[in-house]
Amino acid sequence: MANHNHAAPAPVGGSLVNAITLTCGVLIALMVAILLVRFLFGLGAVTALNDGYPWGIWVVVDVVIGSAFACGGFSVAMLVYIFNKGEYHPLVRPALLASLFGYTLAGAGVIFDLGRWWNVWQMFNPWSFNPNSVMFEVAVCITLYIIVMWIEFSPVMLEQFGKAEAKRKVGRAMFFFIALGTVLPMMHQSSLGTLLVVLGVQIHPLWQTPIQPLLYLLTAITMGYAVVLFESCLTSTAYRRKIETHMLTPLAKIMLGFLAVYLVVRVADLVLRGALPKAFVPSVEALTFWIEMLSLIAPLFLIGAESNRRNPARLFLAGVLLMLGGAMLRLNGFLIGYETNVGDAGGFSYFPTLAEVLVTAGMFAIEVLGYIIITRRFPVLPREAATH
């Protein structure tokens, strides 16, 4: 068993009212108002969705990218409980918290994007569901995973409310839920990529490949670690705590490992399918492709050297770039590289409305606000004798 040389988790404490939480509150209020309009008058009343672009930023950003950003819990849990790297243990609770919010909100985001949301139970109705559908598998897996994460996070709540007995009971079965919590994300994160396969020729060749599941799974795992880097640095700075470089540095090395595997697979796939030349033809797609690739390649140079991995600035930047790159892969596949095929050229265009942007901002605001409230009031982060 590994050493645990860290302090036990404890609420950070402090005031919940500050500029950030107030801003979040305003954004959330706006979001609620807009959603009210959406449910009363339909999607067309608040979004720019049209017949050529059925999926907009609510699906692509809130759900697909949002859930990928929420892979921190999964990546860290794999590291700690499957590969038995106990030294990363203190990262588990905060990563899990971020994942919990990310996935719960992704699930909520799906509901308000569904055009006939009152029929959503049909997805779980054995007389209706279609096992051939990739979306069916994604939906069921995500639903199960949300439940699993709430169970995984329950010890935090039980601890805070002094329910020691219940916590012990849950703890005994925890290993199974943890195992489930590694399998389920592997399934649905990869399948989020498989969603694109049936779209066939409508996806630009730079992003249409049969190995979608592998690409999306590798980026999801990598993004999970990147998010941990990002959140850890951000939280430490915000709460004026010491940066946990002793964990982040080796974690970054593991992240680079997955990244390297992904890049090799991605480039090999592009070359073997003969799609790489398209990246050199001036177009919007080529531009966004290079933004995606360079964001993913840069971290290799930023934190490739051991000494650089000790620099929290570089760690943070690498994390941000990886999140950006992973997000771009999804944005490119689902939105920028998507065109309803009408022979020679399509005539549809899409750009989110202000209302759509505000709702997405509101969703992220809930995550930020929730993270702040829970870390300050519940035992998530390791106790630190720090001034704040």
Binding site: M1, H4, N5, A8, P9, A10, F39, G42, L43, G44, A45, T47, N50, D51, P54, W55, V80, Y81, I82, N84, K85, E87, D113, L114, G115, R116, N119, M123, S128, F129, N130, N132, S133, V134, M135, F136, E137, P155, E159, R168, G171, M174, F175, I178, A179, L180, T182, V183, T194, V197, V198, L199, G200, V201, Q202, P213, T340, N341, V342, G343
Partner: protein, 351 residues
């Protein structure tokens, strides 16, 4: 260090699990579904079409759809594309001076836009709640709003951009041509074919329509030929010519009584390609044209359906849930060993 050993154990466990699944997973590549033998469909002949739009009007009436306006005066139904309220549309190809019909350069041509009723539909594969279904006998791709969750995966999946959602309504549904299946019980076939004055849209069994399409491609441009209108009467029915079929009935294949409307006219100049014969494994709606199909808005599709690839991947990975359970088993084994019940306890450190 001890951690390295555990790390390796974890990797081995994972690797073993992965190998187990790959070995056990049914590597059945799902073949592209062919069209059912009794499949019903349409044959659209762009060279016969005169752009009268009777089919657009008939479709609106048959499906109780409201008019859509794209002009300032809201007087006429003028949709710009199919939508949740427009299931059939005639679009016009224009080039240069638009001198002659069915001419690619400096000409114009018409193309009917409606559901192709694919043999292996992407929308049916995509729909998570089986709201999109393919009838096993007639092959008609139908929609059931009572199951639909409005996720619009079918809208994204269709390579022809056919299913469309009604964004203007809080209870919007998907809308698309269903080959007038709701009228079949009354002996009516597709409204568009029923009203077409020139027989540009022809209804019938896809196998018969395929033969008819080939017959037309063999015609010399300008040559006088007989063209059917309404629905295609198979050779068997022509032979019966209204005589009793020995079973005490005049055999009319279940469609309403109507006179033979075939007529003679000069054949147009066809591109030697029946669109829908091979695309995505074959569609039940076939098209003929004098102008290049991509210029007419019909995508260039490979003979293998995207649904076949998507389902192959899904079944290889998750067929019978074998791999998920194998991996879960491996993970559970490792986690049980690594996760102590009190692992999460605060204060107990240094073990």
């Amino acid at each position: 260090m001890g951690t390295r050993r555990d790390f390796l154990k974890g990797v081995l466990a994972g690797g073993a699990a992965a190998t187990a699944c790959v070995a056990s997973a049914p590597v059945a590549a799902r073949e592209t579904h062919p069209r059912p033998p009794e499949a019903l469909g349409l044959l659209y002949d762009g060279t016969l079409c005169v752009g009268c739009k009777a089919c657009v009007a008939a479709c609106k009436t048959a499906n109780d759809n409201p008019a859509e306006f794209s002009t300032l005066d809201h007087l006429w139904d003028t949709p710009l594309d199919t939508s949740g309220y427009t299931f059939n549309l005639i679009k016009m190809y224009r080039n240069g001076t638009m001198d002659a019909k069915d001419q690619e350069v400096n000409g114009f041509a018409f193309m009917k836009t409606s559901c192709m009723h694919c043999g292996d539909p992407s929308c049916v594969s995509a729909c998570p709640v089986s709201a999109m279904t393919k009838d096993p006998v007639t092959g008609v791709v139908g929609y059931n709003p009572d199951k639909c969750i409005g996720c619009r995966y079918c809208v994204a999946a269709c390579p022809f951009g056919i299913p469309k959602y009604q964004y203007d309504s809080p209870t919007g549904r998907i809308g698309k041509c269903e080959l007038c299946r709701h009228r079949h019980k009354d002996g009516h076939y597709s409204a568009c074919a029923e009203v077409c004055p020139t027989g540009a849209t022809l209804f019938g069994k896809t196998s018969d329509l395929q033969a008819e399409a080939k017959r037309r491609l063999a015609m010399k441009p300008g040559e006088m030929n007989r063209f059917p209108r309404g629905h295609l009467r198979p050779a068997q029915e022509k032979a019966l010519q209204g005589k009793p079929d020995g079973k005490g009935e005049r055999h009319r294949h279940g469609w309403r009584d109507e006179p033979d409307q075939s007529y003679e006219t000069q054949a147009g100049k066809y591109l030697q390609h029946v669109y829908g014969e091979k695309e995505y494994g074959g569609t039940q709606v076939l098209k003929l044209s004098g102008v290049n199909f991509q210029k007419m808005g019909m995508p260039d599709l490979p003979p293998d359906a995207a649904a076949a690839l998507s389902e192959t991947i899904q079944h290889s990975l998750y067929g019978g849930l074998l791999m998920p359970f194998a991996v879960l088993g491996a993970m559970t084994y490792v986690a049980k060993r690594n996760v102590k019940p009190d692992d999460d306890e605060s204060g107990k450190e240094g073990s």
